[in-house]
């Protein structure tokens, strides 16, 4: 069901009651709620069979590790997990996981699959609406090409089961994100994660000022970035006041503005902020802007200097989505360190470190990126790190940043059965996904070429259906 219909009914009821108690009924038009979900998810999980994997090592994604354990799932949900032997009811597909590992599916909070797809030709380049620095009206899902072959690589080589597609970072306000299940579909709606909140991509730093400064318009500087960002939030606040008044008191419906709709959603706490930002000082500026206008930054993305303000991020409950070792490709990445992820993780209560890709190749090796970060952190003497802890960077923390941790991101009874069976310890370079389930449906099996997605684009091409 679509949430707005229920909300609209409730609003009308409240308005009617208010009228009855006070003034004689005038013929006031009923308050109409704006449809907040005009492109609803049509994703439907594929059928699975009740499955039990036993004699397997499990990282539950929340920091737990079970050696010689078992996990079962049925009807799309995790039904149980534990240590030791476990019997299976009749009709269960039992898998011996000896020497193998089970984890929650990897969640990438920063991908451009579909909006910067392969092949990377101009005709398919749909990630940046770089025609104005303020474009909160665009929605990444309208750029997503579901036939991007990159989705399948992320699944079969990377064990990625959920991903957030973001607009690019040319703009201060880049547009809405789309959270997708990594299950092929004919439409973007067919991949949309049911019930996932929207995100809004924001950016600070070099990219907006370079793109627009070179065109001779604001922003041409970092101070221009902040000024235009604040000016835009001032407009959004005024817009929200109009709509709050309308929803509270009725009257004439205000004129809708798509851009402001999105920003109002942020101010209402319904849309999560994903803020591209590299430098520590700029992240601090963006935190102050968020406080000035009363919204929350959910995650800084890239955050190459997050380690310099890991305490500030933790105190404000802001996640940092990072690479393991990228550095120096531009000035704002000059101070990259290989311990960034574990240092952010180690900043105390409220700390939230995420491994992200921003790359169609990197998304295939996020487990290896986490492994490098973990090893670098341990070498630097950062305490309380382990493989089980580090898997939080790949599933639980990104799920929290996407507002879907109640549904996925860890292995717990009742959660979506988004599960990867690795042929060895996934922190080892020599490990690969052997099978991947999404909502309990087997979407990849290394032993079965028929369980390997092939996009429309690749049909009839050299290498169709290859191992990749």
């Amino acid at each position: 069901m679509r949430a707005f219909a229920v909300a609209a009914t409730a609003a009308i009821a409240v308005a009617a009651a208010g009228c009855a108690a006070n003034t004689p009924p005038k013929k006031a038009a009923p308050v109409v709620r704006v449809d907040e979900d005009p492109f609803p998810s049509t994703y439907v999980a594929y059928p699975g069979v009740p499955t039990l994997i036993r004699n397997v090592t499990i990282f539950d994604g929340e920091g737990g590790r079970i050696d010689n354990g078992w996990i079962s799932f049925a009807d799309g949900q995790v039904t149980g997990l534990g240590a030791g032997p476990q019997d299976a009811p009749a009709g269960t597909n039992v898998i011996d996981g000896s020497g193998k590992f089970v984890t929650p599916g990897i969640i990438d909070v920063h991908s451009h699959l579909g909006d910067y797809p392969s092949p990377g030709v101009e005709s398919l380049s749909d990630g940046n609406e770089a025609t104005s620095p303020v474009r909160p009206e665009v929605w990444a899902e309208h750029s997503v090409w579901p036939q991007d072959p990159g989705f399948s690589r992320a699944l079969i080589n990377g064990g990625v089961t959920t991903l957030q597609i973001l607009p690019g970072s040319a703009n201060l306000f880049g547009g809405r994100s789309a959270v997708l299940k990594n299950v092929p579909a004919r439409t973007a709606q067919g991949m949309k994660f049911p019930g996932a909140p929207y995100g809004l991509k924001m950016a600070c730093g070099e990219n907006p000022k370079r793109v627009y400064g070179s065109k001779g318009s604001i922003p041409g500087t970092r101070m221009g970035n902040i000024a235009l960002t604040r000016a835009t939030w001032i407009k959004a606040q005024a817009y929200k006041r109009k709509w709050d008044k309308y929803y509270g008191n009725g009257g004439d419906m205000p004129e809708r503005d798509l851009a402001m709709d999105t920003l109002m959603g942020v101010l209402d706490g319904k849309i999560l902020i994903h803020n591209h930002c590299y430098r520590a000082d700029e992240m601090a500026n963006m935190i102050d802007v968020s406080k000035e206008f009363g919204y929350k930054i959910t995650a800084f993305h890239h955050a190459v200097e997050a380690y310099k303000i890991a305490d500030l991020l933790a105190a404000n409950g802001i996640c940092a989505a990072m690479w393991a070792d990228w550095y120096g490709f531009k000035m704002e990445a000059y101070d990259g360190v290989q311990e960034n992820i574990p240092l952010v993780h180690n900043a105390g209560p409220g700390a939230c470190a995420i491994v992200h890709s921003d790359d169609p190749n990197g998304i295939q090796r996020l487990n290896q990126e986490a492994a490098k970060a973990l090893a670098d952190g341990q070498r630097a003497g950062i305490p309380n790190l382990s493989e089980a802890i580090a898997w939080q960077w790949l599933s639980a923390n990104p799920a929290k940043a996407l507002g879907i941790f109640d549904k996925t991101g860890s292995l717990a009874p009742g959660k979506m059965a988004d599960v990867v069976l690795w042929n060895a310890d996934p922190f080892s370079i020599y490990s690969r996904p052997e099978r991947v389930w999404i909502d309990g449906a087997l979407m990849y099996d290394a032993n079965d070429p028929k369980r390997r997605p092939v996009s429309d684009f690749e049909l009839g091409q050299p290498g169709e259906g290859d191992v990749k």
Partner: protein, 463 residues
Amino acid sequence: MIRTALAALLLTTAVPATAQTIAIINGKVATGDGSGPVEGGIVVIRDGRVVAAGPRVRIPGGAQVIDAAGKWVTPGIVAGFSRLGLADVDLGAGGADDTQASSGPFSAAIDVSTAINPNYTPVEVNRSDGVTRAVVAPAAPRSIFAGQGAIIDTGADLYPITKARAFQFVELGEAGAGKAGGSRPSAHVLFRNALREAAELRRYAEPVRSGGGLEPQDWRLRTVITNPNEARVYRPDARRSEDVLLTRFDAAALVPVLQGAQPLLVHVERASDILEVIGLKREFPSLKLVIVGGSEGWLVASEIARSGIPVIASAVNDLPASFEQLAATQSNVGRMAAAGVKVAIGTINDDETRHVFRERQYAGNLVALSNVPGATGVTWGEALRLITSAPAEALGLGGEIGSLAPGRRADVVIWSGDPLDPRNAAERVFIDGVEQPLDNHQTRLLDRYRHLPRRALPEAYRH
């Protein structure tokens, strides 16, 4: 200024003035020749060269003994294709990027050996990760010819050049088509015309080096051929046709390519483009060709193998990132190797100014493929070879670098564990037998920000 001072300090304190005799014992040793690691191996180096490596090696008296128990010992990583040392920052930092001169007048004559800066952070970061040598190519400016690349070391000194003008680099695939005005046929005509102009000029080349005198026998003293950047090597009456497209310098730079004295690295990805490169070998038998990229090489692996042309391949490309990479698969290297192609690993269009340390991770991924049904991986020993001796051999330097065979330059790394698993780190790095400092901009930042609580003075005073 501070960086220069720091480098000078390292030179005078951290690095011994001369290489000495060192015996690394008890390590798990892999020599880079394709064989697997051997427990309890010994590596002896003296005067900057490898004396011996293996399980039964005599430790010379007076040698400095390093106990590598629990460690792995290999030759340093040789980055098979890179732009290391040409840029400190890639974007928006004027002056810190010499990878290409997009508005300069020259192409083939460009010589990157004049631009390598060993003090750039990427050189230090990659040295810290066990990369000891790199094949460094310019990026193509407005021509299909990018210019002449160099082989460098990553040592903490200001003398990085192992071999200047070690090869010419040309784009003949999609990028070449773009540089040639928009089509592959145009690129091929430009290529043939360039060789024609070089052939014309060759007739006037003096058989002497620019400084006068005959070429010395020792290759390290030779300038590959007569230095093509020195116009003096061509007699002043060197006449050229009137319909030339190349500058005199650019045409002169292609003479050694035409003579087969300088390898020609050709970037192509598509199977049909690879066959065209193989065809060049028949048309110009003297060319010493090396293919770079080769994402669709597996489709024509037997043809490449028969041609004997080495391939410095991108290791893990598996996306149809362009229309010339539709058949890309991570099994490409394994399939080519199985077919007998001389493969090495390089990184083109893959953050190659700074992330060449990913090569060992990529090599490890190729080993992992051996456990994926239907995929073609490589053995561990072969994977190490792909990032050590194989690129050296592709560039004709196999006798000098890339392995622990006796007589090779003593580029040796002691690792905390299996070097193909990037969780392990380089713990000690030797280049030409000289132990290298492993700190860099990043390690200094870590020291500064490891603990954040406020102290008596700002962070800027922690150094």
